[in-house]
């Protein structure tokens, strides 16, 4: 049973989500403040976090950063429509996905399950070499680990899945829409900024120079292409 932590200050929303997600088959814990949420993160050990961005006290973005500082648990932000900059900043801080409130339980549940699938890894690829090397980058598809210059890289579930998707076909150009569907399981008209923010995070984690990437190349007008130089 997936364990979901809800960090939401409004009591009615918090209770509504807790009730609805429990009905969808999740084990749910809820926190009213960011501080309480970080506390419960340690005690409850959730599989996914639903994080409201508008929190009293410690802001949601700060909570997101603190979680990511030592934990790669999937984070789904709950935002208000219109908080456009917050979405981008949240995604760059390491959130995996976001939903716009009001959101139906079924939609949120689908997002949670998608993000959990990202975290749990693909079915084992038999016959594939256990580790691929692309320049200084070593990708272990079976063990779901990535090392750069011999040092392990801590990737969030979306970052890892994105890297796996891109590196599976080096040289092939993926459009943002393709990546949204393949990695985030969104539909074609999902928010392409998810892809851009994730690429940005991924690049910085595997030591890409911002103006001259080695592994993930931007193909202007089309999308992204993986290829080690």
């Amino acid at each position: 049973m997936p364990r979901v932590l809800i960090i939401e200050d409004d009591r009615a929303v918090r209770e509504g989500l807790r009730l609805a997600l429990r009905r969808q088959g999740h084990e749910v814990a809820a926190a009213a403040t960011g501080e309480d949420g970080l506390e419960q993160l340690r005690s409850f050990r959730p599989d996914a976090v639903i994080l409201d961005l508008m929190l009293p006290g410690m802001p949601g973005l700060e909570v997101c950063r603190r979680i990511r500082a030592h934990d790669q648990v999937p984070i789904i932000m709950a935002t208000a429509r219109g908080d456009d900059t917050d979405v981008v900043v949240g995604l760059e801080a390491g959130a995996d996905d976001y939903v716009v409130k009001p959101v139906r339980a079924r939609v949120l549940d689908a997002r949670i399950r998608a993000v959990l699938r990202r975290a749990s890894g693909p079915p084992a690829e038999y016959g594939a070499p256990p580790t691929e090397h692309h320049g200084d980058l070593a990708i272990d598809r079976a063990g779901l680990t990535v090392t750069h210059q011999g040092r392990p890289v801590a990737l969030g579930p979306s970052e890892l899945r994105l890297l796996l998707a891109l590196s599976a076909s080096p040289g092939q150009v993926f459009s943002r829409q393709q990546l949204l569907e393949a990695v985030w399981e969104h539909n074609y008209h999902g928010d392409a900024r998810l892809v851009d923010a994730c690429v940005k995070r991924l690049r910085s984690k595997i030591g890409e120079a911002s103006g001259n990437p080695r592994y993930i190349h931007t193909v202007r007008g089309f999308g992204y292409r993986f290829g080690a130089r």
Binding site: G16, A80, R81, D84, K101, A192
Partner: protein, 503 residues
């Protein structure tokens, strides 16, 4: 074309002033000149005439006693020559007549200047007669006098029968008069020039504030309501400028007040939506629970529960649309451009809503029509138009996409959504993109939020495109969206509050 332009030029204030000043100056100089001329001419001629007559009479009186009476022809000749010689100028011509005898100072002088009427007047009277004669463009003075006997008594005086005539050319006097005319003519030209100059100066003095006023009015008309005029002096034009400034200030204040009220109303709508969102978030979270459990409840409760669930969903959609419109009003809607295959995007819009088999499509092949658009906003545009056609129009609904060039040769995508219903009534047509516009006055609630087409128009506008509605000749309505396919990345638009330029 020339006549109206000339007329317009004549009606300009500057030209009118110049013409008026020049006319006044011309009339003034010509009148003064004419009066001066007349007086001067009369004076000059009178004086020379008096002198001539005086001289002539004196001459005659002096010389007459030297001759025999009655005279013979040689006497007359000598007499005439004698008088002519004594003239102040050299060109006196004299005719002396006694009965049938006549003699001239210049031999064989026909003396044509002398008119018979004058001759008769001299012959029958006793006074000196004179006449100005212009002959062959030369004017001359003709004087005639009968010579009377001098005597102590009136009875002794009487005509002697001797008549003397004098002709003096008046070229010198004519010269004076001509010089006067020339002088007047010469004075007129600088006077006219001065008048024109003054007119231009006056025109400038009037026209500068008028021109400033015109510029300011145009500036106000273009929406710069803070336009004010500098007021110089205290004449009528300064008064006008002052009034203009007051009017502009009043206008600016009213417009600012209206804007404040509109902004207030919009902020209120945004705030209301914002406040509604939190309770709706809680309600939306549990609608699925209600839906699932409704089956197990008794009929009435199940119906009530389903009603609450359905209406919560609609309310959430309405609030979402309101939030979206508020973002456009606040200028906070941003365009996230991406290079995509438009046909693919449209197909996906239909597919994700289960419309692929309901809507007839005419789309280019994959990869043919690519362009820079905001894919999510394009999805909203197409989904709203197709939803509108399915709901209010009649089946079949056609979705068509093709490319065309705009006037500058830029690439444009044209998206047409046509239905086969009754079309849009003429009275409704101008309002189809209005917020919450309902075609029937009963204001029955329709399925959507009433904001779908307004949001469509705003999204298209954000792309720099146009959307319009029309009725097809073969029946049904057609909505046509034209989107530019190339965008300057630097100029990623955000919505501007205020004027909508959808067409």
């Amino acid at each position: 074309m020339r006549a109206p332009r000339l007329l317009r030029a004549l009606s300009s204030l500057r030209v009118r002033l110049v013409v008026a000043f020049a006319l006044v100056a011309a009339v003034a100089t010509v009148t003064t000149g004419a009066l001066t001329f007349r007086e001067a001419r009369t004076g000059v001629l009178q004086q020379s005439q008096d002198t001539v007559i005086e001289d002539f009479r004196e001459r005659v009186n002096t010389l007459v006693p030297n001759y025999r009476f009655p005279p013979a022809r040689p006497d007359l000749e000598a007499f005439a020559a004698d008088i002519a010689r004594g003239g102040r100028s050299d060109n006196w011509r004299v005719l002396a007549v006694y009965r049938e005898l006549s003699a001239t100072s210049v031999p064989a002088d026909s003396f044509r200047e002398l008119s018979p009427a004058m001759r008769e007047a001299v012959h029958s009277g006793s006074a000196t007669v004179f006449q100005r004669v212009t002959r062959d463009a030369r004017s001359s003075l003709v004087v005639g006098m009968p010579v009377t006997f001098a005597g102590q008594h009136a009875a002794d005086r009487g005509p002697s029968g001797l008549e003397v005539y004098l002709t003096v050319p008046q070229t010198e006097e004519q010269g004076y008069v001509d010089a006067l005319v020339t002088a007047i003519e010469r004075a007129t030209v600088p006077a006219l020039a001065l008048a024109v100059l003054l007119a231009l100066l006056a025109a400038r003095g009037v026209l500068r504030p008028v021109r400033a006023l015109r510029r300011a009015t145009r500036s106000i008309a273009e929406g710069r309501l803070d336009t004010r005029l500098k007021v110089h002096g205290s004449d009528e034009l300064a008064d006008l400028s002052h009034t203009f400034n007051e009017t502009a200030a009043a206008l600016e204040e009213s417009v600012a007040e209206l804007r404040r009220m509109e902004a207030g109303a919009r902020r209120f709508a945004a705030d209301v939506s914002h406040e509604l969102r939190t309770p709706l978030a809680a309600m939306s979270a549990v609608t699925d629970v209600l839906d699932e459990d409704a089956a197990g409840l008794d009929d009435d409760t199940a119906m009530a529960v389903r009603l609450i669930s359905e209406e919560t969903t609609k309310l959430a959609d309405l609030v979402n649309d309101l939030m979206e419109i508020s973002r456009f009003d606040a200028g906070a809607a941003a365009l996230h451009l991406d290079d995509i295959d438009l046909a693919e995007s449209l197909r996906r819009t239909l597919a994700s809503r289960g419309w692929l088999h309901t809507v007839h499509t005419s789309l280019p092949e994959p990869g043919v029509l690519r362009g820079r658009v905001d894919p999510r906003r394009l999805d909203v545009v197409v989904a709203n138009l197709v939803a509108n056609a399915l709901k209010h129009g009649g089946l079949p609904v056609h979705l068509r996409l093709y490319e065309q060039e705009d006037a500058e040769g830029g690439r444009q995508a044209v998206i047409e959504v046509a239905d086969s219903g009754d079309g849009i009534e003429d009275g409704v047509m101008p309002h189809v993109f209005d917020r919450f516009y309902k075609s029937d006055t009963a204001r029955t609630r329709s399925e959507g939020s009433g904001l779908g087409l307004a949001i469509t128009a705003e999204n298209v506008r954000l792309h720099g495109g146009t959307v319009r509605a029309a009725n097809r000749p073969q029946g049904g309505a057609v909505f046509t969206v034209v989107l530019p396919l190339e965008h300057d990345d630097a100029a990623q638009r955000t919505a501007r509050p205020g004027k909508g330029d959808r067409s």
